[in-house]
Symmetry: C2
Subunit: 260 residues, 2 copies
């Protein structure tokens, strides 16, 4: 989607390492209209293209794919790729059509670029899970690599939408990650009740002045199904979406490895 930050640079560097000297690294920059809802920030989404291009050049990108919306979508386009289970909850519940837009454009990009490997950030964990599922179910010949979330010094996950924050909401935003870390610590201290962990997480988020919690969930990392308890083989993930001063921020952390 462009508006590249250090999180994107980390993805590009990961791709560069994976491609080696023989492979090519392709970056797509496309603010995809079909994944925005009618009352979302499509028109004001940042598009600093010349800066993005510099970053790509610096990171050794071989090809920058930057199509226009009309190059991607015919006026009478009528085909959609839809994932119906993992997309239903979390961000999908408050952003209807979002993941269909994501699946469709990622399919198109895969058909155009035909990558052997594609790197996605863990910050958009649900998107990552949905894309893994799509690649599995449609037998796409591409390996999906997940790259860890890059954070500011105070823990805030990097996001192009952080630019929308005021100095006041920016200062408060770090408390989202702090709440997730507190949940990890509670789990490590022996709390195995998901309801208990989730209560603590919600309480910490609700204590952020002006925060509106969209969701806070502890789910199976792959299926995104709600978990009741840790089990030996359970890979749990805590995910949150919070609005701060009208800016919707998401973050997530792993709770795996804390099961007793």
């Amino acid at each position: 989607m462009g508006a590249l930050h250090k999180g994107h640079s980390a993805l590009i560097r990961r791709a560069r390492r994976l491609a080696g000297s023989k492979g090519s690294v392709v970056v797509s920059i496309f603010v995809n209209p079909t994944q925005f809802g009618p009352r979302e920030d499509l028109s004001k989404y940042p598009r600093p293209f010349s800066q993005d291009r510099k970053i790509c050049h610096r990171e050794g990108v071989d090809l920058l794919f930057h199509p226009t919306p009309s190059e991607m979508y015919a006026a009478d386009a009528s085909v959609v790729v839809n994932e119906s289970i993992l997309s239903a909850g979390l961000c999908g519940a408050s952003r209807p059509g979002h993941f269909a837009g994501v699946c469709t454009v990622v399919t198109m990009l895969f058909q155009i670029v035909r990558p052997t490997i594609a790197v996605f950030g863990e910050k958009d964990w649900q998107q990552l899970a949905v894309i893994r599922r799509m690649v599995r179910d449609l037998k796409m010949p591409v390996k999906i690599i997940a790259h860890p979330t890059v954070r500011e010094a105070d823990g805030l996950a990097l996001s192009s939408r952080n630019h929308y924050l005021t100095p006041e909401t920016r200062a408060l935003a770090s408390r989202i990650h702090a709440a997730l870390i507190a949940t990890v610590m509670e789990a490590e201290a022996g709390e195995i009740s998901m309801a208990g962990l989730r209560r603590g997480l919600l309480k910490d988020l609700a204590a952020i002045p002006g925060a509106v919690v969209d969701y806070a969930a502890i789910v199976d990392a792959e299926t995104l199904e709600p978990l009741k308890k840790f089990g030996r083989a359970v890979k749990a993930r805590a995910l949150v979406a919070v609005k701060l001063g009208g800016v919707r921020l998401i973050d997530n952390v792993t709770l795996s490895g804390v099961s007793k």
Copy 2:
């Protein structure tokens, strides 16, 4: 879908010529469960695989791809490719979910086989139009080639479902194509009212003893939108679906080139 007949052989020979001596011809044989409705003929659909294999061998096929349903679909599969405009009418109206099943399995086959060219029969005209639209909208790197319908001597379009016909319904079935040809001749004789042409077509079909007409339509060959009149550049196609003794038969002919 297998149960190969001379129509399929013609598709394979077309592919063989297109591939030349350097290219490979791949045939998929897969009775795709997701394109059958709950009350359709999935379980009784013919599966004469050893005979199909012989035909493929004789026609110089390089690879025969014959997966099982569980190799194609995970138990928790949740991703569908859906075309919503061209799929809505005609066969789509009486077979809900059919074209989503077709689009999904064809996408999967394209991802697995990665063909540069794919040959489809004109007999399933709506399917052909839907797949062309899917390839266009999802930017799939494959060229779709349409091959003319192969017919019995009396005009009946070859179909694996013709095996279901009794001697009596088989004799009547040729009147479907005869009705379409009569429509072509009426158009060539100067009838430019689509309503008039369609009335004649419906009358001829209704005159077949025991026939239940599912639809008879004259549409734009590409968009499948109903036409009112011929125009200079209009490519019209007449399409019908008729049940004879419970066997659903489809056929279509071009009306292009008859405009005045």
